[in-house]
Assembly symmetry: C2
Homo-oligomer: 327 residues x 2
């Protein structure tokens, strides 16, 4: 992704791409993602193999977006109010309004779960459309378009769900302006997630953060993020585990998530390497080095939440290393 510059398209390029896309359709699986990876607040995310949205797109001759939602979430079909719609409207402008899109979205990632539901819709739509168009746009372009969906969802153009959703694996967003996204190689990781069925609004979760922090806490945090990146790249599970510590965001945000401390304690007792709040919550994720442990961690999560009156889902999955998949 580095050094990929946005190229302005010629009318000929656009016409050829649209002509070759006519009559075709493209179906993708757009994966859920974990952003704000513990000490990697705002900069580190990973893609999941489960859950993922299923999206099918085709070209239409008017410069508009027609959305069909095949789910029970009652999401808006007005493209200007839909997180998949806004990025596609941006793409249509870049296509000089020479075509539009009809898209069918089967949402499996529950909105508001903290598992990158909006990013999956936003990224899945533009990746599928770009595939139809013979990869007219660069990955950086796609991330830029998809971030418009994130801005609609949360008020902030952030890429730490978008980038892993598109690229797969663990991704670092070193910088948003200019956009600089780096794949971080990692050893196999199992991810256990519990999604308590309560609502935490991303805006609220952002609002309660302190704007000023102590330098000494920041030093701890950047020691941990450096350790986490080194641990992932070395495949050193012990180092990964030691580095999965967030002294800044988790202590503030975890108060919005019922039984957070108890879940975390029990999961680590069950063998998890560590974990924290997925995105801005309410889902909690834990990383394990093997499948057996990941299921033990799931049991621990279930036990804690069974004692509350809150209903919940759990997932045991792995890191999705390829990002949005074409079916």
């Amino acid at each position: 992704m580095e050094n990929e510059l946005s190229v302005s398209l010629s009318a000929t390029n656009i016409k050829e791409a649209i002509d070759s896309a006519w009559g075709k359709q493209c179906t993708v699986h757009a994966p859920g993602t974990v952003a704000n990876l513990v000490c990697g607040f705002d900069i580190l995310g990973l893609a999941l193999n489960d859950p993922s949205d299923i999206m099918t797109i085709k070209l239409i001759d008017k410069p508009e977006v027609i959305i069909h939602n095949i789910d029970e979430f009652n999401l808006p079909t007005d493209p200007k109010k839909n997180v998949a719609g806004v990025p596609l409207l941006d793409m249509i402008e870049r296509l000089d309004n020479q075509a539009g899109f009809e898209i069918r979205i089967e949402k499996k990632i529950k909105p508001g779960s903290g598992l990158g539901s909006s990013a999956a819709s936003a990224a899945g739509g533009v990746v599928a459309a770009n595939h139809l168009l013979g990869n007219l746009f660069s990955r950086n372009d796609l991330v830029q378009m998809a971030m418009l969906g994130e801005r609609l969802a949360s008020g902030v153009k952030h890429a730490d769900n978008i980038a892993p959703c598109i690229m797969g694996g663990v991704t670092l967003i070193r910088s948003i302006l200019p956009l600089d996204i780096i794949s971080i190689p990692s050893p196999p990781l199992y991810v256990t997630i519990v999604h308590p069925q309560i609502e935490v609004r991303t805006e609220d979760a952002r609002q309660i953060l302190r704007k000023q922090i102590l330098l000494k806490d920041a030093i701890k945090q950047w020691g941990n993020i450096a350790g986490l990146v080194a641990g992932l790249m070395k495949g050193d599970y012990e180092l990964i585990s030691r580095s999965l510590e967030d002294v800044l965001i988790e202590p503030v945000r975890s108060i919005l998530i019922p039984a957070f401390a108890e879940v975390k304690y029990r999961c680590i007792e069950a063998g998890a390497m560590g974990g924290g709040i997925s995105g801005s919550g309410p889902s909690i994720f834990m990383l394990s080095r093997d499948e057996t442990t990941a299921y033990k961690v799931e049991d621990a999560m279930k036990k804690v939440y069974a004692d509350t009156n809150i209903s919940f889902y759990t997932y045991v999955t792995t890191v999705n290393t390829s990002g949005v998949k074409f079916v």
Copy 2:
């Protein structure tokens, strides 16, 4: 260094080590180091091939430290006031006061240069002594002892000069308590340094830092440190270069260093990948990917300082990958 625990020594172990060390002496080259590696304030350092101190140590039968300084710096010979002395006094205690050390220090790294002069004395002394004693102590033990010298020098027990001095290469101090030091593999790096002959006291440089910082600046900083670690481990010079940015410390501390902005600008113009203040200054270091560029960078530094009335030294060297060397 990970997972190395301090083992308490038995009287037998100590006696055997001392017996075998009698009559021998050990000479080491203890390298200069660059700490606070741009965005890696307090956590990242690297070792240099030039300059380095030359230290020769032997055992004596009284539990004390005798220091001979073979230089013009007029450093204290009272071991309680000497940065090499204090760590050796700690080692003597760990040896149950069964022996002492006589040490000859030929200081080549000018005290107060920002090139880890105190760390070289502190680390070189204990590494040499430990070599005499058949490696009785672990590397973690040595770092702990040497940090006592740093506390004497600056009031703070920090390890970001000590660790690279002992281990060589680029080292990450993820955490001081508990001590967690990680080697970061790196591609070949050339280092150009200018040491303007002015005094910046470490204590002063620490005092002017803000204790509170903005979360958004901290996020930039940990994006950069994550990028720098990834760039070093991938051998990606472009990524290293983009990540060599410090939005927090350099803007404050650089005001203590004459012509800092001009030096930096001219060095980058000459082809340096980036750089910043070495330690707490006043030395400025720049990284380059090849020797030719490193010498061009030196010329650029010389030109800027020739226009001031400040005398200065320059060095062109490489990363020392082995740390303290036995002669």
